[in-house]
Symmetry: C2
Subunit: 156 residues, 2 copies
Amino acid sequence: MSEAKAAKRPQYFEDFPVGAVFAFGSVSLSEAEILVFARQFDPQVMHIDPVAAAKGPTQGLIASGWHTGSIAMRLYADHILPENGLPGPGVDELRWHQPVRPGDTLSMRVTVTDARVSRSKPDRGVVNVFSEVLNQRGETVMSMKPINFFRLRPAR
Amino acid sequence: MSEAKAAKRPQYFEDFPVGAVFAFGSVSLSEAEILVFARQFDPQVMHIDPVAAAKGPTQGLIASGWHTGSIAMRLYADHILPENGLPGPGVDELRWHQPVRPGDTLSMRVTVTDARVSRSKPDRGVVNVFSEVLNQRGETVMSMKPINFFRLRPAR
């Protein structure tokens, strides 16, 4: 498997061969951003109250897992999805391995694990990937297995 | 399985017996909210450009799947998680079945599918659920299988 920082942004099914690895992104997360997201979507003590969180099981404020997932979505959309793409059907094995804390910087590594032309809709392919979100120490903080639909490259 | 709209908010492992069903929530989503979330986290045409989306595969603007997931998280946090709980390890089989569109009203149904005391940490239990997000027509727009950790009820 080669670490292929695509010079050219992938766009079609054919740009995602099995074994391809895409590495990208660098997003830093502030305490204020963690609080804003969590107050709206995940108001648990560990995500909205730095003082109480310091005394709790997370030993400090941590980002909502849905915040980390949404940041991964943004990196994904910015780097490897076509702008005008197809909606994806879902994600398997979403896992939060390590806490994401204020000041952490996140990046992504996406490995293509399976790719096949759709039988029911032959204008598109189904691409399975293993996506990892890494922090500035190279630790995997989140991983997941999204399922993607990409259009086939048009015949010339 | 009984439709148990818990009069009392569940709090401990013992409040989640296998077969219990929790139904709750009513959140309406405006076009503006869909756009705000998507501009930040999922800037694909189908989520940020109503005019172009109308001509695309989604036949109109649809909410980011991570937005729907984050709303589900909020409903979850407001209705069945203890305020000062434990972080969850992840989610299996996250699926987006139907588009969520401006004006839709979402609610949730959560069914306990497995519950067991943790072997490694006997102060807590592991609770598996099947969570469905429904729209105002009763259609399942999203489903997932989150894994939850809950503390055991303290002995009196």
